[in-house]
């Protein structure tokens, strides 16, 4: 064992991740070398080039059918990986377009002119007057995105943990950079960081115990150890529980959801959108892979636990969403409840067998896709509804938006209906798929609870729609003119939501065809 093996690395199959990482590094160099006046444009170019190149490489690899366990057993390139990378890249691109929007705010982005200066200080005023801006947000987001991509494909715990941190650290920074209400934003960043660190500690501790149990960090080795145990079950149980905490925290499941509303509200809205979609997608993907691949044989231990969490998450998310008066907070709780619905499929998933292709992985991916498109559109619209102090988050101030602005109103209503799971939208099919896979997994009672929660949830969303269309317009609030950088994500979100609702067939086929984790 004292001879050092030459590391192997599959360059081409893993090129999409590398492209994103490379783009992030180039972004840092741009930040250092390019004059301030040209940075914004250069960064945009780097982001667009990097993400599109990554997407292109991904597609090329997909049609070349390259798959397998790569990077010395730490990354698995399989069907779900392709789908999740693709979704992450698309959603990342759409969210970062909103990052770059400057028309809404008189030529300034949603980020603070000088994030390091004390709010209300002279330094801040000077930076604002000089029209400084933090173009670092683009490389930060790219780093985070590359972490997410590794996170969903990692098949050993060390890689997963490193990816988790790579994905989280830039997010902590990004969430503290709001231009308006900076105290709130900084508070959110600190909270997110501290609680994130706590959850990472749990995750790490769980990892250590898992290593103690299996003698390896590798998912397949853990699986083998579960099937032929050398040590007692207790070590595995505690390890599973602690690691679950770390993962559920990132998903935003109850009771680890406390950070979600605060951070969603405090962060700049484009960052919220990025977190709500990409972080959730990455966390769910990694959770599914870890539980299905490494702990699939031990499902009887964790299924009831996830089931309880799913019930709590759905109910608490929905009930708290009902009483919210702030649109971002409402969307935050809504995202909590969506996490619950997704967990329903995670619970049922395990029982899906090879000859029963209604797999939970496919339903989870479809749900995330539908949720992601609706979310990207919804948050983009949130950035457009403004009053003199910036974005108008009070739901009361959204009154009558639908009448003064029928198109934006109709699109937002559509996205809300998708969240609510009303037929003919992507959200409906997503809910059906998720419920069906749990039902077939033998968790009928959970489906009943989930259906009830979704029926109550519909009330939350319809209340907003009704407010938008049927209440008297509020004073001083209007839908600001936005550039294509905001309008394209909204349009894509709306069209995709409708498409997934009306013609889900091709997408479902794709997901079902590539829903098996490589072991």
């Amino acid at each position: 064992m004292n001879q050092i093996a030459t590391p192997t690395f599959e360059w081409m199959p893993l090129a999409p991740v590398l492209a994103v990482l490379l783009a992030a590094c180039v972004g840092v160099v741009v930040e250092a070398l390019v004059p301030r006046a040209y940075r914004f444009v250069s960064q945009l170019g780097v982001v667009a080039l990097g993400l599109l190149a990554a997407l292109g490489l991904l597609i090329v690899n997909y049609f070349a059918h390259s798959s397998g366990i790569m990077a010395m057993g730490s990354i698995s390139l399989d069907g779900p990986t392709y789908l999740m990378w693709g979704s992450l890249l698309v959603f990342g691109l759409l969210s970062m377009m909103v990052f770059a929007e400057r028309t809404l705010n008189n030529g300034a982005s949603a980020f603070a002119a000088s994030a390091a200066s004390v709010p209300g200080s002279v330094a801040e005023a000077e930076a604002t007057a000089a029209r400084h801006e933090h173009t670092e947000v683009f490389p930060l987001a790219l780093f985070s995105l590359s972490g997410m991509m590794v996170f969903v494909s990692a098949t050993d715990l060390i890689t997963a943990f490193v990816a988790l941190e790579v994905m989280s650290l830039p997010l902590y920074l990004l969430s503290g950079m709001a231009r308006r209400r900076r105290l709130l934003s900084q508070e959110a960043a600190l909270k997110y960081f501290l609680l994130g660190a706590l959850s990472s500690a749990f995750f790490l501790f769980g990892m250590a115990l898992m290593y103690g149990y299996a003698g390896s960090f590798d998912y397949r080795a853990i699986d083998a150890a579960v099937l032929a145990p050398t040590y007692g079950h207790g070590l595995l149980l505690v390890g599973t529980g602690l690691m679950a905490v770390g993962l559920l925290f990132k998903i935003g499941a109850v009771p680890f959801h406390n950070w979600v509303p605060d951070v969603y509200v405090g962060s700049p809205t484009p960052v919220t959108s990025f977190m709500a979609i990409c972080t959730k997608l990455a966390a769910v993907g990694a959770t599914a892979r870890f539980f299905f691949v490494a702990l699939g044989a031990d499902r009887w231990s964790w299924q009831p636990m996830i089931a309880v969490i799913a019930v709590l998450t759905m109910i608490v998310g929905v009930v708290l969403a009902m009483s919210q008066t702030d649109i971002k907070r409402l969307l935050a709780y809504s995202s909590v409840s969506h996490a619950g619905f997704i967990l329903v499929a995670v619970v049922g998933a395990t029982v899906a067998t090879a000859n029963d292709p209604a797999s939970s992985v496919a339903s989870i991916l479809f749900y995330l896709l539908a949720y992601g498109f609706a979310t990207v559109g919804a948050f983009a619209i949130v950035t457009m509804v403004r009053n003199s102090a910036g974005e108008a988050h009070d739901i009361d101030s959204w009154s009558g938006i639908g009448r003064s602005n029928p198109v934006i109103g109709a699109v937002f209503a559509l996205l809300m209906l998708s969240f609510a799971g009303i037929p003919l939208t992507g959200g409906f099919i997503g809910k059906w798929e998720v419920f069906a896979s749990a039902w077939e997994g033998g968790y009928a009672w959970l489906v009943v609870v989930a259906v009830m929660a979704s029926l109550v949830a519909a009330y939350v969303y319809l209340k907003v729609v009704v407010r938008m269309f049927f209440a008297e317009s509020a004073e001083g609030v209007s839908v600001a003119k936005a550039s294509l950088l905001t309008l394209v994500p909204i349009g894509v979100g709306a069209v995709a939501t409708l498409y997934l609702g009306l013609f889900p067939g091709p997408v479902l086929d794709l997901m079902t065809a590539s829903s098996v984790f490589l072991r």
Partner: protein, 632 residues
């Protein structure tokens, strides 16, 4: 057991989707057109429904001309969901059952559209009103024409949405907004049944199409059949305002009167009956569920009639009556093959005469400055001849006066009920007597006696655009029964598998008894309200029956205690927890944005500590659950 066999759609049948598309497109146009259609948009809506009616009529004639085996036509539209174990193709099923519904919806719906042109003439939001009406027609047609339960569910949600929008149409009235919300919530309870039923069907049959469900129902485990049957019944109860989900219908009368006529009398509320009849294969193998349907129908027909006897609001009397009549239909549908055709028969005649009476009530309200209190009416027969005459036709039809439409359809149900079970039969018979009583009361208080009009009210006949639909509906209230009596059983037989029974023209013993009870009801009504003066204020009453009836049999109170209070309590608990633990920090920080005081920091650290504590408790919770599941 019947199996659905459809023939491929050719010719006019391949255009069936236009029936739904035309009003849907019209609704969309009216909604997004801005003020462009403000002046003439209502005529676009009328034209859309008229066109749908034309297509429906054409299809109907084509079906009449075809062989009975060739009449049911499947119109596949596209494959909606195709994933692994199940595939759902969205398509239409034009068969003997659905075409009757399509004719009712577009025919009566068209007349109500026409009437609304007059009724809503001065409403500033008329365009929106007609858009919603068209949306409703499209969704309702989708509901009845769908060839599988999941597509039916799409229509089901659509009519619910339209109903919600239209009940709350006059949103400046808080009562209207509250009523809309109530209808929405109670319908969601029904939807729970619908969703779960469809989910179970998908799991059991791998498909939700009527064809697959009908074919698979025979081989179904009785427990599952019963479960699906009960879930469908729950769905039907929500939509059709049957006990225990009845309370929303009375409040729904807050909507404009044409809405009450179209949605809450003639069409949408009968969707539950349609669902039960359409699911005949399931109910045939689930006797417990079928008995539950009979019970629900029987209880509702009595409850509705009871409520009808003690209301002073003319629309609420009619709403109670609608509940009661749908109870009759449910009762017939629950009886099984002996009753399916009669349920649909009564549904159609009821569609005519109840729409007629609701529109008549609207005409009266129009004349009385939107006053709905019958104690302020009286003597209107002299000033509103056409409304009075058409309303009388509806009155005679609903009480079952010989040879009017209700006479045929209701008598069949009462007879079938007696064959099922004497107790149910008696309930149906007594219901007929009460119906006669409350309708007589309504007639006498509204059109006869001396006038008790408020000051400044000058009743007048409504314009022609409102009276012509009344006249047409009145004609059908009279002849609808004769037209369909000898025909409908054989027509429906291939679609719903009912038993065709010989009908004699002479009334049976039960028929005579029914007539006697009805006559008694009319006489009692006349005794109390015809020969005495009607007080202008409702007399204070301690009479148990009156108090119960005036309060809708305390349906709201029951809901409140059973459902609302516990939910509110739970929600409040969660909200309190949330506010103390979460909102405190953020609100504090936001409020102190300008001050930058130390307080913020203090709050902040406190917050994180609390959050971390919650997380740690969560870890303990996870541990407990995992240990428990190990033990179990």
């Amino acid at each position: 057991m019947i199996t659905l066999e459809t023939v491929a759609a050719t010719g006019v049948f391949s255009l069936a989707w236009l029936m739904i598309a035309v009003p849907a497109v019209a609704a969309a146009l009216l909604l997004v057109s801005g003020s462009f259609f403000d002046r003439a948009g209502h005529w676009l809506a009328v034209a859309a429904v008229a066109l749908s009616f034309g297509i429906a009529l054409w299809l109907f004639i084509a079906m009449m001309a075809a062989d009975p085996e060739q009449r049911a036509v499947g119109v596949p539209l596209y494959t909606w969901i195709d994933s692994g174990t199940w595939s759902i193709s969205a398509g239409l099923l034009i068969d003997q059952l659905s075409i009757l519904f399509a004719l009712l919806i577009t025919g009566v719906g068209g007349l109500i559209h026409l009437y609304s042109v007059g009724y809503m003439a001065h409403d500033p939001r008329r365009r929106r009103f007609f858009a919603f009406l068209n949306l409703f027609v499209a969704a309702m047609l989708l509901l009845v024409l769908a060839d599988n339960y999941l597509v039916l569910f799409v229509g089901w949600e659509g009519v619910g949405l339209a109903s919600y929008l239209l009940i709350g149409f006059w949103q400046y009235k808080p009562s209207a907004a509250a009523a809309a919300k109530k209808a929405f919530v109670m319908n969601r309870v029904g939807d729970l049944g619908m969703t779960t039923a469809v989910m179970a069907m998908l799991a059991l049959f791998g498909s939700s199409s009527f064809e697959a469900v009908n074919a698979g129902a025979g081989k179904l485990d009785p427990a599952w059949a019963t479960a699906i049957g009960l879930l469908l019944l729950l769905a039907a109860c929500g939509k059709s305002a049957q006990v225990p989900l009845q309370a929303w219908l009375l409040d729904a009368m807050e909507g404009p009167t044409p809405v009450s006529a179209l949605i809450h009398a003639a069409t949408m509320v009968t969707a539950g009956v349609y669902l039960v009849v359409r699911s005949n294969a399931v109910f045939n193998v689930a006797p417990i569920a079928a008995t539950a349907v009979v019970l629900v129908g029987t209880v509702t027909l009595l409850v509705g009639a009871w409520i009808g006897t003690s209301k002073d609001d003319i629309k609420k009397v009619l709403a109670g009556s609608t509940m009661s009549q749908i109870g009759y239909m449910m009762l017939a549908a629950g009886i099984g093959p002996a009753g399916y055709a009669f349920a649909i028969f009564h549904l159609l005649t009821h569609g005519f005469f109840k729409a007629n009476m609701f529109l008549g009530a609207g005409s009266v309200m129009h004349a009385m400055d939107d006053d709905v209190n019958m104690r302020h009416y009286g003597a209107l027969s002299k000033v509103m001849r056409i409304t009075f005459l058409t309303f009388s036709m509806g009155f005679l039809a609903i009480i079952g006066f010989p040879f009017f439409s209700g006479y045929y359809s209701k008598d069949h149900i009462i007879e079938a009920a007696f064959h099922q079970n004497a107790l149910i039969g008696w309930a149906a018979l007594i219901g007929a007597g009460i119906t006669a009583f409350y309708m007589t009361r309504l007639m006498l208080m509204t059109f006869f006696g001396e006038s008790r009009w408020r000051e400044g009210v000058h009743p007048h006949e409504s314009p022609k655009i409102m009276t012509i639909p009344l006249i047409i509906l009145a004609i059908f209230s009279v002849i609808g029964g004769v037209l369909m009596n000898s025909w409908i059983q054989e027509w429906l037989e291939p679609a719903v598998g009912n038993h065709v029974e010989e009908l004699s023209l002479m009334p049976s013993a039960i028929g005579w008894a029914t007539m006697g009870v009805v006559a008694l009801g009319v006489a009692v009504g006349w005794f109390f309200f015809g020969q005495r003066r009607v007080p202008e204020e409702a007399p204070v009453s301690k009479n148990f029956f009156t108090v119960m009836g005036r309060n809708d049999l305390f349906g709201d109170t029951v809901n409140d205690v059973v459902a609302v209070q516990p939910t509110m309590l739970a929600a409040r608990g969660v909200v309190v927890a949330d506010h103390t633990m979460i909102d405190g920090g953020v609100n504090g920080a936001a409020g102190l944005l300008a001050k930058l005081s130390t307080q913020t920091r203090r709050l902040q650290t406190g917050q994180i500590r609390t959050y971390a504590l919650t997380m740690s408790l969560g870890v303990v919770g996870i541990g407990v659950v995992m240990i428990l599941s190990q033990l179990g």
